[in-house]
Symmetry: C2
Subunit: 212 residues, 2 copies
């Protein structure tokens, strides 16, 4: 029994790494099993198809990432500082990935959204839900920022949250294309602009990275 | 001779459509030839590999798109209006694609950047050049906007242009994921924020779409 769930975890770990590096279509079950070091029979014991595996990888990745987002965005810091902490954590993830693999791997959800939206309806629907949850989490902070006068009074909180998620995805695309995590460092300033934060409120939150 | 270059064009048209719909890894030369209605022998007469074909599709797509960008961004309108015209043209391209194929296909360059950056170095380098050219074209307009006082005096023109390109890519990702070209309609307002355009200057350029 212990050995069995080991095999499942090995398949999931190998698939997560390979999906981030190479995408969905370029991968075969045989390669995933070879990388995981498990026989192909084990694969079909746990997953009925490559699509079912990808769906599980996506779900597990979001469980982990949502926990991080909730922790950072739910802290006791002021709302703008919480957003900045999220961007720093996102940059850190890409830096760590680059140090480990030599390459910025980008965002698993963004990669699969562009590759699979028009091909695998189940994956598209799941990614739609995940992006909406990301927008929800950011919007809650934007609402707080607006209510406390840190964001501009005419900001549409839903659209601003959506634009911040779009800005993250666009900047991650540039970071991956250029293999340069520093592309993410402007997210903070961009968001102050998108939230129409007045000059005096920008000063209250330090613009340089904090010690961790 | 006429027939020969017909075959080349048929292959390029089929490959462009298939690459936009399904990406690179999911495609095979046999499928491209079948869609184009040309024998496989013709393919290898014109292209030494699928990679060489993709490179040609990218180059030709950028020749066409750059011409459109130069036309729109080089018009006699004021700089902010020219940016808005670019966003409207971009939205229109996605709407037309959706009407034709039933699905928002997204940005060929963005799709391939996320799929291939870490797999095909030649494609990565070419896409890096294309995105830098896009940023160049937008930066020229941002510089004009700044010099004429339409954009804020502290705007970093290069970073602002880069952020606008990132915002386009991020919004196109959402448009593709949701099969909803309206996701691009906020690009104009986002850019006014990113360029720190003062309230009085926002009023001089109508916020509603112009007649075409």
């Amino acid at each position: 029994m212990g050995r069995t769930s080991d095999a499942r975890n090995k398949i999931l770990d190998a698939a997560a790494a390979l999906l981030e590096q190479r995408g969905y279509s370029a991968l075969g079950v045989a390669e995933i099993c070879a990388t995981a070091g498990v026989p192909k029979g084990s694969f079909y014991y746990f997953f009925e198809s490559k699509q079912a595996l990808a769906r599980t990888v996506i779900d597990e990745h979001w469980v982990t990432q949502r926990r991080q987002w909730e922790q950072v965005l739910g802290s006791t810091h002021d709302p703008l500082r919480r957003l900045r902490d999220l961007f720093e954590a996102t940059t850190e993830v890409q830096r760590a990935g680059q140090q480990q693999a030599g390459l910025v791997v980008g965002c698993l959800f963004g990669n699969l959204a562009l590759e699979l939206s028009n091909q695998v309806e189940e994956i598209r629907r799941r990614l739609q839900e995940i992006f909406e949850e990301q927008i929800d989490l950011i919007e809650r902070v934007v609402i707080e920022a607006k209510e406390s006068g840190l964001a501009g009074p005419s900001v549409d909180t839903r659209e601003a949250a959506r634009s911040i998620v779009a800005q993250i995805e666009g900047r991650v695309l540039l970071a991956k294309l250029l293999n340069d995590p520093a592309q993410l460092e402007t997210l903070w300033r961009n968001s102050l602009d998108l939230l129409q934060v007045p000059a005096q409120a920008r000063g209250t939150t330090p613009a340089t990275p904090v010690d961790r």
